[in-house]
Structures are given as C-alpha cells and as structure tokens.
C-alpha cells in the first residue's frame, strides 16, 4: 500500500507514544523530532517495519540555532523508502555543551562520512563512530567553522580589504 504522512504519523505515535513530537509538514514532507537518545531506536523501527522500510539514508546534516538555549544543534536525517517512494525528515536536538549523539554508521554505512563531516563542521560527537576525525578541513584546526559565531573569511589575510570584501 502506498504510504501517507498520516499513516506514518499514526504508526510512530503508536510505537513511541509522545516521545516523537513536533510533527510538521513543510512543503509536503513529514518532519518530526525525537529525543536524542532515541534516535537509533526510531531509525531501527523505520528500517525494520515491513510496510515502512525506510532503508535509504539520503542525507545527514546539522543546523546551529544559537538562539535556542539547550537545543542549539539540530541533527537532521532525511530518510527515503525506495519501496514506496516516500521521504521523511527526522530531527534530533542536542545541547551545544554536550553534543553527544549515537552513531548510525552501523545501520547505514552511508552515515560514516556524513557524520565525520558533521563533526568537522559543528563539533557533534557521534558516540560509537569507528573513525571520528576531521574530514574536510585541515587536521590542526581547533574550532568548528560552520557554527554561527565564526566568520567566513580568514581573518589573517592581508591582501583583501574587509571594507570592500567580507559581509
């Protein structure tokens, strides 16, 4: 049978009760949230359940909201069910001082580098990841560049005038 947003919502609330919250449908894609220690359980349920079977991890990224204390970093998973051609978005929020989230690299091998990239840019510590080190930036970098407080430009450059360049 073909999936609909309401069907998935009802199955999730049936299984997890009120731990899955914040059901929204921006631009027709179901988007929901769960506490950060339940992320693997929710994804495993979506993977195993025969009529849901979300077995393809399309994307994994993070977003930094500096204005929400206690929920600064959002880790966003985009899952895709190839059997029914249906996509959903699953978010997990965490505090910026203890950014520990369980890794999904054992469930989806695609998450391996995507989690390394998220660690590199935002500092999210994925617990249980086989090889969590920087992937795109230089290894000696000591800050997490995509966080909102850091500037885009290299502050030590001398040949470009910040009045004319930088925004």
């Amino acid at each position: 049978m073909s999936l609909t947003n309401d069907y998935i919502k009802s199955k999730l609330t049936e299984k997890f009760g009120d731990q899955v919250t914040n059901f929204e449908e921006p631009y027709h894609m179901l988007s929901f949230e769960a506490p950060k220690d339940m992320n693997l359980k929710v994804m495993q349920y979506l993977y195993d359940e025969p009529d849901l079977s979300f077995r393809f991890l399309t994307d994994l990224c993070a977003v930094h909201y500096p204005d929400n204390p206690g929920r600064e970093l959002a880790i966003v998973y985009h899952l895709h069910s190839l059997v029914d051609n249906f996509r959903i978005r699953f978010k997990v929020f965490t505090d910026i001082n203890t950014p520990d989230v369980f890794t999904s690299a054992n469930l989806f091998s695609a998450a391996n580098w995507m989690e390394r990239e998220t660690y590199d840019f935002y500092g999210v510590n994925f617990v249980g990841h086989p090889n969590l080190k920087r992937i795109l930036n230089v290894d000696e970098m000591d800050y997490f560049p995509m966080r909102r407080e850091f500037p885009l430009e290299d502050q030590t450059r001398i040949d470009k005038d910040d009045d004319m360049f930088g925004r």
Partner: protein
C-alpha cells in the same frame, strides 16, 4: 595597457612566425649569442606539469584536445612528474590543505622552472574568500604568469602560454644565479 598587444589595427602584413634571433648569417652558418639560441630552443619545447585541481582543469583538458591544440606550441608531452618538467601550471582552487603539497611539488622541479597560475582561484583566491582557501598561490611560490578568468577560455590559456614562451625566450642565462633571484627565493623561504 590592453592585454592583447597584437592584431589591434588591422594590418595586413602580420608575421605569424618570428624570423628568429638576430645574428650574422651566411652560407651554411648562423652566429648569434648563446642565450638567444638557448632561449629559442627552450621556449619551443616547454614540458608542462598540469597541476589541475578543479574546474580550470576541465578547460585545460579542452585546450589540450584537438580543437585548441596546445601541442602546437611545443607542449606535446605533459610530464606528470615534477622532476621532468619545466613549467608548472596550477589550475584551480588551492585550499590551505593543499598548499604544502604545491610547495613540495615546486621544490622538486629542477632549475630553470616557471610557474603559471591559471584562473582566478589560483591567482588570488577567486570567488572563494573563505577560511579554507589559499588566497592565491603566490603566497607560497613565485609565479611568472597569471591568467585571469573563471575559467579562462582556451584562447586565454594559449595567450598565457605564449607569454610564458616570451619570458623563457628572453631570459638571461645568468638570471638564476643572480642576487635578485636569490632574494626572491628567500622571501618565499625556498633554498
């Protein structure tokens, strides 16, 4: 000063080939100074090292292909080993992670060596004014010719290559041992 210096006024007697260096010629001999002959030989047989990182590399491939052939200018053999090449063409964005590698490849080249920076990213960082991109390779190695463009058209690449040929042809044989060159190398920290 306009970048294009030739074919400006529509003259009809354009000489496509230079006649060769000045000298004294006669029946079966030609006498000229050593550096002119060496320059002539060097400039028409430059072996480039394509150091292609990104989009400019694809335009270089188009320049090397049959439509805008670069081997007409003597660059037939693209030497991929720095020990065997004369000209390092750096094409594409150089990130800070890649910088030490560019320097290492440059140091492996043997004198006389020239560097061509192709594209806006190699010349000055291009549109990527970010924390991770080196703002021009002349922060780490001395560059002889810059080709602007994003990416430069193959005709622009050929024009840049011809400028390198001019530089190679007119270089004095004593330049690499002179004081100014030594100061230039020291300012980059190269022995």
């Amino acid at each position: 000063m306009r970048p294009v210096q030739y074919n400006l006024t529509g003259e009809n007697n354009i000489k496509l080939l230079e006649e060769g260096p000045e000298g004294y010629s006669g029946e079966g001999y030609f006498a000229t100074t050593l550096d002119k002959v060496v320059g002539l030989a060097r400039k028409n047989s430059i072996w480039p090292l394509p150091f292609a990182t990104s989009c400019c590399g694809i335009e270089f491939m188009a320049t090397m292909a049959a439509n805008y052939d670069m081997s007409r200018f003597g660059a037939e053999r693209m030497a991929f080993s720095p020990r065997q090449c004369d000209l390092m063409m750096v094409m594409g964005t150089i990130a800070k992670k890649m910088g030490p590698i560019v320097k290492q490849v440059y140091l492996q080249m043997a004198e006389p060596r020239w560097v061509l920076a192709m594209g806006a990213c190699a010349s000055s960082g291009g549109i990527f004014d970010t924390y991770s991109v080196l703002q021009g390779i002349d922060q780490i190695i001395p560059v002889d010719v810059y080709i602007p463009g994003c990416p430069p058209r193959p005709e622009a690449v050929i024009d840049g290559f011809m400028r390198v040929q001019d530089l190679v042809g007119k270089e004095s044989l004593r330049r690499r041992n002179g004081e100014r060159y030594k100061e230039l190398m020291e300012s980059y920290g190269i022995q």
